[in-house]
Symmetry: C2
Subunit: 164 residues, 2 copies
DNA sequence: GAAATAATATAGCCAATGCTATTTTTCAAT
DNA sequence: ATTGAAAAATAGCATTGGCTATATTATTTC
């Protein structure tokens, strides 16, 4: 390769197309840059819905990181317009924040349910989904949903049959 | 929450178990720390297998990053014992390196094939698998393999039926 | 209203991953 | 042997995401 390039006739490569591979790696690096934002916003939405408030300490405790780590990330979320902070009353989502949270929640739910539906244990599904969700494209999510729907319907069919 | 903790009687939480959630986030953060190493080692194995050599410039080109970025990561791979570098002759895998590469390759292949098998297009499967692979636990991989085997066999059955 | 406590902010550190620009080294060709 | 080109190394910078230790600032409680 490189300097020692083959001269002329294309060599049987075995490797996948370079441009395609670069695109995959780029997309993956890109997804990585938003993973944390997504997890924070999703978690904040959950905390708000559950207890009406989301404080730094709660977020830190749920994520398993230190409070200053959360404080720093919250600044990023503020600067990106996803949250508002009311001094000593915790974090609140902006409209874009709520929107992102909803997207993430759905996506997370689909991935986790899907894993369970193919026989992964709930504990493992929970863990794996937390990481995989950020790399599941809309197309893959559609496939997951189709599969979920199909197994649901076949279960219904089976049940209907067993009842009759 | 936190300061304003509920006193006594456990409140209906709606949230999942805190310890479980922390475990998920921790595991995910952990996986993130090895993603790059895995992609590098896998890519180096591919390049070596294909052309007999893996140079910094080739790796950089395939990953879509700059050469000094690769140079730095290679130092990490050397320090972690996965590769050896022969001056101007490129990168070579150590035994642990080959072992890791093999694991990653299989895992990657399983994830990508699985996505295709549930109807995701090859291009999207390629992209999503590049990120998801690093978060697929052995248990999830087993579930993927089971599914692949089952669809393969049902295709065989269907084909056998259509032939007879 | 003062003191204690809880929540937040800030300072200062580190490691990882990216970049550009430049230098050094090796290899290949003349 | 010299030279030109390719590969690799190095310097210097930025951003992200972690940490600990230590202030500040609100809120409760007495
Ligand atoms: Mn999530
Ligand atoms: Mn997540
Ligand atoms: Mn891979
Ligand atoms: Mn990958």
């Amino acid at each position: 390769m490189s300097q020692h390039e083959n001269v002329g006739h294309d060599v049987e490569t075995g490797l996948i197309d370079a441009d395609a591979q670069v695109e995959s790696f780029r997309q993956t690096r890109n997804n990585r840059r938003t993973e944390l934002v997504e997890d924070y916003v999703e978690l904040i939405a959950d905390l708000l819905e559950d207890g009406g408030e989301a404080r730094q300490v709660d977020i830190a405790q749920r994520l398993g990181v230190a409070q200053p780590t959360v404080a720093k990330m919250l600044k990023r979320l503020i600067s990106e317009g996803y949250i508002q902070q009311r001094r000593y009353r915790g974090i609140f989502l902006t409209d874009p924040g709520r929107q992102l949270a909803e997207l993430c929640r759905e996506r997370h739910q689909i991935v986790e349910s899907f894993l369970c539906s193919i026989g992964v244990s709930p504990e493992t599904a929970r863990i794996d989904a937390e990481g995989m969700e950020h790399h599941a494209s809309p197309e893959t999510l559609e496939a997951f949903k189709r599969f979920l729907a199909s197994t649901t319907s076949s279960r219904i069919v089976a049940q209907a049959r067993s009842v009759s």
